[in-house]
Symmetry: D3
Subunit: 147 residues, 6 copies
C-alpha cells in the first residue's frame, strides 16, 4: 500500500500492525530453493528430531524477510529509502504452523546537519507469533524526504 509521508509526518512512539501469515512447510522448502541454504535444521526432519527444538525450524533469513514483507504490505512510503537494518536478533525459533505478524514502532527521528533534504527514521520491528511471543527484533534505518 503506497502512501507518501514526509519526515515531519512521523511521530516517535507511533505503532502500526501488519497483516499476519501462517508459516508453512512450503515456505521453508521455497526459501531453501530460493537461497540455496539446504541446512539440515530446515530440510532434514530426521536430523531435526535430535536438535533441542525436536523438529525443523524456519531459516532466520526467511523470518526476517517475511517480517519485512508483512510490514511493507501495511504501508510503503515512496519517499523513504532503506539504508539497512541494525541489531537483528533471532529471539525464538519459528516452526511450521506458527502465525507471524509485524509490529512497527517509530523509535527515533534524527535530522542531519549535512543533509537538509532528508531525515533519518528508526523503525523498531518486532515480529511476533500467535502466542504474542517475539520471535525476531530489528531496527530499520530509513532516509525520509523532508518537506
Amino acid at each position: 500500500m503506497e502512501k507518501k509521508q514526509f519526515f515531519e509526518d512521523y511521530r516517535i512512539g507511533h505503532i502500526r500492525h501488519s497483516p499476519a501469515r501462517t508459516i508453512t512447510e512450503t515456505d521453508i522448502v521455497v526459501h531453501a530453493g530460493h537461497t540455496g541454504d539446504f541446512s539440515p535444521h530446515h530440510m532434514d526432519a530426521e536430523y531435526a528430531k535430535h536438535t533441542p527444538f525436536e523438529r525443523r525450524i524456519a531459516h532466520g533469513t526467511m523470518v526476517f524477510a517475511f517480517g519485512i514483507g508483512l510490514a511493507a504490505q501495511s504501508a510503503n512510503n515512496p519517499g523513504a529509502f532503506s539504508s539497512g537494518y541494525d541489531r537483528i536478533r533471532f529471539v525464538r525459533p519459528v516452526f511450521i504452523g506458527d502465525t507471524l505478524k509485524s509490529r512497527i514502532t517509530i523509535g527515533d527521528l534524527k535530522t542531519m546537519a549535512d543533509n537538509p533534504d532528508f531525515g533519518e527514521v528508526i523503525e523498531q520491528i518486532d515480529v511476533v507469533n500467535q502466542k504474542n511471543e517475539t520471535v525476531l527484533t530489528a531496527s530499520h534505518v530509513l532516509m525520509v524526504e523532508r518537506r
Copy 2:
C-alpha cells in the same frame, strides 16, 4: 557443506569466499511472491524507468538472504548458532544480470565470563558484484562451542 569447528579453530582476519550466482528476473519475481513485497521498484518496469536507477532493482531482503545463503554453501558449522546480524547496509543497488558472491572475514572473537561453553564469533559479510563493488555489508553474530 557441514564442517564442525570449535571457537578455538577461528582466527581473526581469516577470509573465505562463497560460490557466485547471477541475479535473474526470476529471483525477483520469486522473492516478491515469497515475501508478499510487490513494491513497484521491484515489480513495475514502467515505474522503475523514472527512478534514479532507471530500471528494476532487487529487494534488499533478497540480496541479504542470497548473500547469507551463498556463505552457507561454502561452510556450515553445526557447532555454531546464529544470534543475529548487526549493521546491515545496502551499499549499492543490485540489478538483473549482476553476479554476486560473499566474502566472509573473521572480524572478532570474544569469550564470555558468564558462558564458558560458548564464544562469540563476529563474521564480517561483504557481498560483491561482478565488478568487485560491494553491494551489501553485514556483521554476523555467532555463538560457537568451545572445546
Copy 3:
C-alpha cells in the same frame, strides 16, 4: 492434448471429464505469491478459525484457473479461440485436501450471420470435489473454425 476440431464436430450435450488433482497447502501458498493476494482467508490460519468455514479456503481465482487447466489437459483444440467466460459462480468453498476435477458439457452452438468462418461454442464447466459436490460453475465462450 492437442486435437483439432471444427465447429461442425461439436454436439450439444456431449460431456467430457478432466483428470483430477488434490488441492494442497502448497497450491494456496503458490497462488498467493503468484497473484499477490495474501488475504487472511487464504494465508492466516488463526484468522480462518474464526470464519464460518473454520479453516483456510482456496482463492476463487485459483479454483477457476485449476478448473480450466484441468479441462485443457483433457482436450485442447488448436482451432478454437477463447473469447472469455460468463457467469463464474463460487458455489462451495474449497479446502486443503479436496480433490477437484472438471466436467465439460457442450451447452450451445451458434452460427453468426456476420462471421461465416467461425461458430460460437458454449462449454458449461462444472468443477466438482471428491464428494461429487459442485464447487464452481462457469460458461466458456469459444470461437471455433467452421469447415
Copy 4:
C-alpha cells in the same frame, strides 16, 4: 490492505486504481506449472512464431487472476463476499514485458427483498496495459454487509 466497508459506503461511478506489475516470462512458466496448462501458445516459442501474435502470450486465466490480485492489493473489504464474476472478456493479448494494472469502477448497487442483511455490489474491472489499452474486462459480483 484490509478496510471494512458497508454496502451504504459504496457509490456508483466511484473509481479506484490498483498498483501495476510487469508480466515476465517467469510468470508464464509459473502459471503453466501451477495450473498444468502447457499449451504451446504460452510455452513453445517456435510454435508461437507462426501464430497471428508471432510470440508467446500470457494465459487468459493468469491475466484474470493477476487483475483480481492487483485489485485486492489496493483494497480488501472483510465485510464483502465474492459470488463470482460475469462476462470476462479477453480484449487484447498480453505479452512478456507488458505492465498491467486494474481500474475498478462501482457499476451497480442492488438491495435484495429476500436478504435485508446484504446488498449486491457490481464492480467493473478493467485491466489495462502500459499503452492504456484494455486487455481484460470483467464484472465482479459482491455481497456486502448492510449497516
Copy 5:
C-alpha cells in the same frame, strides 16, 4: 493423457511425438532450487563465459526430467510401471531459448518366462531441439500388463 494399453498393443518401431516447450532462465533457476544443485555452469553467468559453451547450460537432470515429462503429456498408460532407464546420454548442451520435444520409439518387446502377467517394453527416448539435433537419449524400461 491417460490411455490404457496392454503389452499386446505395442508394436516395435511405432513412433509418437510429444508437445514441445522452450527452455527458459526460469526453468534453470527453479531446477537449481528444486534439486539444490547451484553449480556455476547453471547459475553463474560470469563463470559460464569462460567455459567451452560460453554461456549457462541446463542441468542434465532437468533435460532428462523435461524429456520424460513431455513424453508423459502425450500418452500415459495406467497399465504400465516404470522399472527405470538405461543408457541416458547427454549428447549436446541445452541453452536458454532452446525448444525441446521428445520422440518415443518402441525399441523392443520381451515376454518373461517367470512372469506371465507382464511383458517388458523398451521405449527409446530421443529429446531433440529446434534444429532437430538430438540433445539426450535414453531407454525407458517398462513393465506392461498382458491381456
Copy 6:
C-alpha cells in the same frame, strides 16, 4: 562444494555420503509443475488410495534428480564432465515424509586408448531412505581430466 580432482585421485571402492533431505508434498507439487507430469499417482490423493501403495508417490524423475542434487552438494569436481547415467532402477517407492540421502561409491576406473587426456570414472549412486532401504540405484558415467 567445488573441489578439483584428477582421474588419478579417484580410488575404486571409495565411498562418500551426501547430506539428507525430507521429501515434502511441496516437492511433488513443484516437480509436477516443473516437468508438466500431473499423473494421478503423484497428484490425485483419491486415485492413489486405490493403488498398491495406497497413497501418492514421488515422481521417479524427482527421486533421481534429488539423489543427484544431493550428491552434487557434497562434492562437485570442475574437472569432471558427465556423459550420462546407466541402469537407473526405481527399487522402492518414495512417500511424502521420507528422508533421502545419496551414497556414492567409486565403482570403476577406465583409461581410454583414444583419449589420453581423460579417464572414465563410474560412480555407483545409491539413494537410501530413513530406514536405510535403497530406493534408487544408478551408475554415473564421468569423464575426468588426467594429470
